[in-house]
Amino acid sequence: MSVLLEVRDLHKSFGGVAAVAGATFDVAEGSITALIGPNGAGKTTAFNLVTGFLAPDRGTVTFADRRIERWRGDAVARAGLVRAFQTARVLTRMSVIDNMLLAGKDQPGEVLGAAWFVPRRVARREAELRRQARELLDLVRLSPLADAMAGTLSGGQRKLLELGRALMVEPRMILLDEPMAGVAPVLAEQLVEHILRLRAERGLTLLIIEHDMDMIMSVSDRVIVMDEGRVIAEGSPNEVQQSERVIEAYLGRLSPDGLGT
């Protein structure tokens, strides 16, 4: 399997405190990789750095053979590396389907004035995107809520919507930040199902920050462990679970979410 995402020696400090201090890891295409570590290990910061929401102090990020560490967030998303957020950022004042349509790729209607000069082309693409959106809403089983305001959705439903929205961008890789957090068990199961299917049916690559060890063990091919801003272990779920270094990192931090919660 080829490497899709390559992170080398990433550094980021905030006012003297190093959030990420030399993180290095690879993510292979088509894999489901988990990124775990105690709270404050720098996982979300690493996500922000990789996806262009933060600029790194040092280090490189290579995605699909292109160096993207200096790219802005929207450019990274357009390149096929899409992220979701810890708390799903849906547009609450727009309907579910509009949330999906927003994310559509290559919309001629987003050009200023297109609505005036080429309305038919705009309408055609809208119809295409609408079909695509409905398909994806079916996939994440939110179709009945298509016309509801996204603000009325529960936390778990919002995560599903965010996932569907991410898929509208036609990504090669999706980064999920604690997808299980605050989600009812029924929806959590669906999420796991979706993640596996996405890899199987669409060849999607996934990098997931999670604390839910059960989920990680059942879903991931590889696990990357971060602590204090750097990667301290990498390997299969079993290898990592038995690594002394990892156990030390968790126990040494007295974090409530230890192994096997």
């Binding site: 929401f53 802005r72 967030g73 929207d74 998303a77 950022r89 547009l91 994310a103 705009v122 961008v169």
Partner: protein, 326 residues
């Protein structure tokens, strides 16, 4: 002029139409893109001065001078883009008023360039009275002659102007409405609520905001030019920050998120504004016409406060989609 004098109401209609276009420009920047521009008046000032200077001093034909005026507004929008994209809402409000005031102060204090406090009349230096709208008036007369058969007689310049401006305003609002409903408008709606989400789905928010800024500037520039052509003279005093807040009040009156409410807001505003002269009953009759100006401004302030307090969605707006809580 009496209450029933049609010439007066035609004039009110002209002003209402121009203000509608000005408010539309603000609508694009504020209601669509969420940029609280408190210095909107600066676009109007810059367009008018550029146009007048080119006509009066360099003999540039009116259409070209007008286009140059709009160009100046665009340049100002580009400059404004720097703070607009970096500052949060209330800081941007302060910075834009400050920017607008810089423009006004420069206009006031560079008499060689702008005619100073006397305004456009002084563009040719003391002793000469500069005018710039002869071509415009000739244009209106030509339109009037063309339209005479319809009216049975030659319509007044103001009537032609009113029809022209409202025709233009309706077309512009319609174009704005199309834009609002298009995917472009959808991206801006997303940006208004949550920029990070818009970025996460690959939208270049800097580009979208700049486009809204420039579009709004063009509209304000047009309004500035039309106002200058209608009145025939202007001075730095005509471009005080208060004018920007007239535009806000117009948006608030009609409904800050309903583009078709803009004509309603501007007509109501113009009626209120010009109608104060007709309030010849006690206790308002105590105010002489000079004080009426202060009464008008007082009412503007009062309406701003009352509407923001009790009816922020305006008379026709949709409370649900109101996005002021930033």
């Amino acid at each position: 002029m009496g209450l029933l004098n049609p010439a007066f109401w035609t004039f009110v209609a002209v002003i209402a139409g121009i203000y509608a276009i000005m408010a539309l420009g603000l609508y694009v920047q504020f209601s669509l893109a969420g940029l609280p521009n408190f210095g909107h008046v600066a676009f109007m000032a810059v367009a008018s001065y550029t146009m007048a200077i080119l006509i009066v001093r360099y003999g540039v034909p009116l259409p070209l001078a007008g286009a140059a005026g709009i160009g100046a507004s665009i340049i100002l929008a580009l400059i404004m883009g720097v703070p607009a994209l970096r500052l949060r809402a209330d800081y941007l409000a302060i910075a834009t008023v400050a920017g607008g005031e810089i423009i006004r102060y420069l206009a006031l204090n560079l008499p060689d360039l702008t005619g100073g406090p006397i305004g456009s009349i002084g563009l040719l230096g003391p002793g000469d009275i500069a005018t710039y709208n002869q071509e415009w008036q000739a244009f209106l007369d030509m339109l009037g002659r063309l339209a005479a058969p319809i009216f049975g007689r030659m319509p007044s310049r103001d009537l032609v102007m009113a029809l022209l401006i409202w025709g233009l305003a309706i077309v512009l609002i319609w174009l704005g409405w199309l834009l609002e409903r298009s995917p472009w408008g959808r991206v801006l709606e997303a940006i208004r609520e949550d920029e990070t989400a818009a970025v996460a789905v690959g939208k270049n928010i800097v580009a979208f905001k700049m486009q809204a800024l420039i579009l709004g500037a063009i509209l304000a520039g047009m309004a500035g030019l039309l106002l200058a052509w209608e009145i025939g003279v202007f001075s730095p005093d005509d471009y005080q920050p208060t004018l920007t807040f007239y535009a806000y009040l117009i948006l608030i009156l009609g409904g800050m998120n309903r583009i078709w409410a803009i004509p309603v807001g501007s007509i109501l505003f113009s009626l209120m504004y010009t109608g104060t002269r007709f309030l010849n009953f006690y206790p308002l009759s105590l105010f002489d016409s000079g004080s009426r100006a202060f009464l008008r401004l007082f009412l503007v302030g009062l309406l701003l406060v009352l509407f923001m307090a009790f009816k922020p969605e305006g008379l026709l707006g949709d409370r649900r989609r109101l996005l002021l809580e930033k």
